[in-house]
């Protein structure tokens, strides 16, 4: 494999005042890899994700991303407009609560088409076709393209958010508990969808979750976080089936078996 990493993280840490949220995180992510970050509440995983995704400047360390034009570049060394452009072209971010990312008073089609329009699309027909296409891909009824998200169920809103995020064909997608808060059967179908899309589009992704079943299904690699530290990292099935660290063993043994 001669291709370099898509993302390189060095000595990344963030503190809020005296509280250390995450500390000394380091890894490389290669194209097509899905990294799961698991931890319980307070582990620092969400802070980490925000630092990685350009949303929160870390107090220490670097996040380097392989920019198309300039190669590995410090994400926080970019100017704000450059970073904003990156975040709506090469990157995507799926939040736990789709209502945080959707415009609730704009139609589904308008939501999906928004990023296309911000990136310069000026043909209504083409924008609408693109939106329809993506609604199909996330298995939403395309006849609802003009309906507002407020009329959708939670699972449908999450699918809409995924469509809105993937419409620009990003290379790297960050997800924060993408199936959290949804009914079990809805979660299951959504995970199937994500798994399919990640595979089909060759996406790289970093998924933060507390749910080990989600990482087993979606992630190639796993990072276990506790009190802001990455206590164990490796191949997903290896970390879950042969956990070395005490905390990982605790986590794995705590999962309820139905």
């Amino acid at each position: 494999m001669t291709e370099g990493p898509l993302l390189r993280v060095d000595g990344l840490g963030h503190r809020f005042g005296r509280v250390v949220a995450c500390d000394d995180i380091a890894f490389e992510l290669f194209p097509g890899e899905v990294l799961g970050v698991v931890g319980e509440s307070g582990s620092g995983k969400t802070t980490l994700l925000n630092c990685l995704a350009g949303r929160l400047q870390p107090t220490t360390g670097q996040v380097l991303y392989d920019m198309r034009a300039t190669g590995l570049s410090d994400v926080y060394g970019l100017s704000e407009p450059e970073r904003r452009l990156l975040m709506r072209t090469d990157w995507g971010f799926v939040t736990q609560n789709p209502r945080d990312a959707l415009r609730m008073d704009i139609s589904a089609g308008g939501n999906v088409g928004e990023r296309l329009m911000v990136n310069g699309a000026r043909n209504y027909g083409a924008i609408r076709n693109g939106a329809t296409d993506w609604l199909e891909r996330v298995e939403l009824d395309t006849s609802r393209i003009d309906d507002r998200p407020a009329t959708f169920s939670g699972g449908m809103q999450q699918r809409l958010q995924i469509a809105k995020t993937l419409v620009v064909q990003p290379r790297l997608v960050f997800m924060d508990e993408p199936t959290g808060g949804l009914d079990v059967s809805v979660q299951a179908r959504l995970l199937d969808l994500l798994r399919g899309l990640v595979g089909d589009l060759g996406l790289s992704a970093i998924i933060v979750t507390h749910d080990l079943a989600v990482v087993r299904l979606l992630a190639d690699r796993l990072m276990v976080m506790r009190h802001g530290q990455a206590v164990e990292q490796g191949l997903t099935d290896q970390v879950l089936d042969d956990p070395h660290h005490a905390y990982t063993q605790l986590l794995v043994s705590s999962v309820l078996q139905p």
Binding site: L217, R221, G234, L235, T236, D241, H244, H245, A246, Q249
Partner: protein, 232 residues
Amino acid sequence: MTQMIRLEDLAKTFVLHLQGRTELPVFENLDLTVEQGECLALTGPSGAGKSTLLRSLCGNYLPDRGRALIRHDGEMLDLVAAPPRAILTARRLTLGYVSQFLRVIPRIPTVDIVAEPAVTLGMERDAARTKAAALLSRLNIGAELHALAPATFSGGEQQRVNVARGFIVNYPILLLDEPTASLDAANRDVVVDLILEARERGAAIVGIFHDEAVRKRVADRTFDLLPQQAAA
């Protein structure tokens, strides 16, 4: 003969932090080689570490020391030191693994579960499904079951789905963990035939076969694992 697997000074001890840091040594100073076209049977009493060794050979378990080299893409790849993406590529292209338990990705039809490894390698989906169906039929899983998810299948049926999934691609290395357990005589014979065919085409095979008759038919040699002393 080309060396396909080489284990050097391999050691594995489980540390159970939740049980007062109990240490369970499995093996140490383990050296082993397997050539192309050779079938090696791991033997030894229950708990001796046969499954552990097999899982270490596909990266599912991580040894503490030593090297676990497999021939992948023309080079020897050390599974102990390799990054996750290298191990995943090796599993896609080189390593076939038939385990005792089918950890199913739910809601996927049986024929697609079996076809998946071939599709991942670039085979056209319909062609892969056809091949999968043929293999399932050979293993006496009727066509009416192909479209169903295997969650409700019997133990023996699930085992045969596992086997089919391991044999749909001509892997250079095959790891088989009790492939004939839960199978009746007729199906056992089918699996033995599959193993022999694989050996014939040059696959290096490492397997655990509790059934002595099966072992005698497929294995060229055996490797005995002795139980280690548990830490006091």
